[in-house]
Symmetry: none
C-alpha cells in the first residue's frame, strides 16, 4: 500500500451494493481501510467462471484473489441450498474484482477473507454490513491464517469509525497485547475457519454451515479406504 494513508477513505454509505467489503491494510506509513468491490463482468451472455482483478495489485494479492474465488465456489457448493441461484453464481458468471483506489499499489495475502466475503456477497445478492472491517489470509480450504500489522490496522479502523473487526484467531495474542487506548470500544471477532466469518456477517442467510468440528470417524474411514 502506497502513501499517503491518513485521510478518510470511506466512500460508501451504510447500504452499498452487494460485493462491497471493507478490508484492512498497512505499510511502513501506517494502516488504512481498503475497499474491495466485486461485480459481474458479463451481462446477458453467460460467463464461464472467469476472473479479472484490477487495482495495481502485486502478484501475491492477485493469487490471493484466485484462491478466494476457488474457495468461494467451494463454499457455495457446500453450504448453500441447491435450489438457490447463488449456488452456481460464480460458475456461470465472469467476475471482476477491483480494489479502489486504482493508483495505489497493493500487495500481500491478508485480504483473503475480505475478497472471499466480497464474492459471496455478490453471489448471494446480500450487502455486507459496513460497520465491519476484516483481515486474514485464507487457505484453499477456508482456514484463516495469521496476518501482520495488527496495531496499525486496528488504529485505522478506529480512525474511520469502524468498531467491529474480524481477525484471525492466530492473531488473538497480538490483539491482547495492544494498549487499552487502541482497542477500547472495539468489538473483536476471532475466527479460525471461513464459515465463522460468514455466520458473523450474514446471520440471516440460511446455510448448511453447522459445527466445524471434523468428523474423525469419517476421516479415518477415508484414510483406510
Amino acid at each position: 500500500i502506497g502513501h499517503p494513508l491518513y485521510r478518510s477513505s470511506k466512500f460508501y454509505t451504510l447500504y452499498p451494493p452487494p460485493g462491497v467489503v471493507i478490508g484492512l491494510a498497512y505499510n511502513e506509513y501506517g494502516g488504512a481501510i481498503l475497499y474491495i468491490e466485486s461485480a459481474r463482468s458479463s451481462f446477458g451472455n453467460e460467463g464461464k467462471g472467469g476472473l479479472r482483478v484490477t487495482g495495481s495489485l502485486g502478484d501475491v494479492m492477485k493469487e490471493s484473489s484466485s484462491i478466494a474465488q476457488t474457495y468461494a465456489k467451494k463454499f457455495l457448493a457446500t453450504y448453500i441450498n441447491n435450489n438457490m441461484p447463488a449456488q452456481k453464481y460464480l460458475e456461470s458468471h465472469d467476475i471482476h474484482i477491483h480494489f479502489p483506489e486504482g493508483a495505489i499499489p497493493k500487495d500481500g495475502p491478508s485480504a483473503g477473507i475480505t475478497i472471499t466475503t466480497s464474492l459471496l456477497s455478490l453471489a448471494l445478492g446480500v450487502p455486507v454490513p459496513q460497520d465491519f472491517a476484516m483481515t486474514g489470509e485464507i487457505s484453499l480450504n477456508g482456514k484463516v491464517l495469521a496476518i501482520g500489522g495488527v496495531k496499525e490496522k486496528t488504529m485505522s479502523a478506529t480512525r474511520e469509525g469502524i468498531k467491529k473487526l474480524i481477525f484471525p484467531k492466530a492473531n488473538q495474542k497480538d490483539v491482547s497485547e495492544l494498549p487499552d487506548y487502541i482497542k477500547d470500544g472495539i468489538e473483536f471477532h476471532f475466527v479460525d475457519e471461513y464459515p465463522e466469518v460468514f455466520k458473523i456477517l450474514f446471520p440471516k442467510v440460511d446455510t448448511k454451515v453447522q459445527d466445524t468440528e471434523p468428523n474423525l470417524e469419517l476421516i479415518n474411514q477415508q484414510i483406510t479406504q
Copy 2:
C-alpha cells in the same frame, strides 16, 4: 502525460461521432485536455465484449479502462430499457478505446468517468456535448473518487474555451479554494455517483436512473430468503 502540453488540443468540432469525450489530465508541466475515443473493432462479425486499448497507456490507465468497461456494462443492464439495442451493445461488440495523441505517455485512474462516458455514448449512439470536460476515478460500482491536479485541470479547460466541468464531489473543497481568476466563468458540476454524470450529459436519454437510495425492503427480503 508527456510535454509539451501548452498547445491547443481541440481537434473535434461541436458534433463529433459518438464515443468522443474530453477528459482532463495534468503532470508536472501543467494541465491539458485529453480526448478519449471509443469504437467498435468488429464490424459484421459479432464480438464477444472484448476490449483493446491504445495511446501509450500505463498500467493504471489500462486497468481504469477495464473498470470503466465492467461498470458501463452494468450501467446499461441496470438503467437502459430492455428493448433498446444499446442495452447489450458492450456485450455483443468488441470495443477499441484510444487516447490520442498516440506518442504521449498517459497514466493514472482519473479518466474513469470519462472512459465510462465514452463507452456509453458509443453504445447509445448519442454524441457527448463537446462543451463539457470531466475528470474522476470510478469504482466498480460507479462511485466517483477524488483526483489530483484540480488547479491545472481547471486552467487547461479555460485555455481551451471549455466552460462546463464535471469533478468528483470529494474535490469540491479543492475547487472552492481556487482563486477567483481561475474559476470565474466556469460552471462546475460535482458528482458522487456515475448516474449523476449521465443525467448531466444525456438529459434526453430515457433511463431508469432515479433515486440512488437503496430499497431496504428488497434487501431485507433477500436476506431472509
Copy 3:
C-alpha cells in the same frame, strides 16, 4: 527511424501490388521515405480479422497499426457499398503489415494515415499511386493529427522524386514557413479527416464519402428515441 537515411529507398515501380504505400519518416539524421506493405496472412482458411505487424516497430507504431486497422474496418463498413467484397475484407481475413527494411527500428504515430491507406488498398484490390507520399497521425474516428519533421520529410520526398505529398491540415502553417527552395515543385495536399485522403488517392472508387457534416436530425431522433 535509424540511420543511414541518405540513400534511395524506392524499390517499387509505378505499379506495385495493392497494399504498398509510401510514408515519410524522420529522425535526428534527416528524413526518409518509408514503405508500408499489407498482405493477407491467411489463405484458404477464413481469418478472423486478426493483425500481425513486423519491421522492428516500437510500441507506439504497433499501436498505430492497431488504430489504423480499427478505423479501416469502420471506413469500409461506413463508406463502401454493401455488395462489394471489400466491405468485409478486413473482418474475414487475417492481415500482416510489414515495414521494410526490417532491421531499421521504427517508431511513432505519424504513419497512421499511411497504414490506413495500405489496408484499404489491400481490401479494395486497388494499387496506390506511387507518385504520392503521406504522413499523419490518425485517430480512431479518422481525424488526421499533426506530425513532426515537416522539413526533413519534405526534403526526403524531393530527393526521391516524389512530388505529391499529403500532410495534416494542422501542419499547414509549418509547410508555409518552409523556404521556397525546399517546397518548390511539390504539390501539397492538406487533410483534416481521413476520407479526404481516400478521395485524393482513389478518386475512381465508388464510395458513399460525402459531406462529413453530422445529420443533426438523426442525432435528435436517437436522443429522443
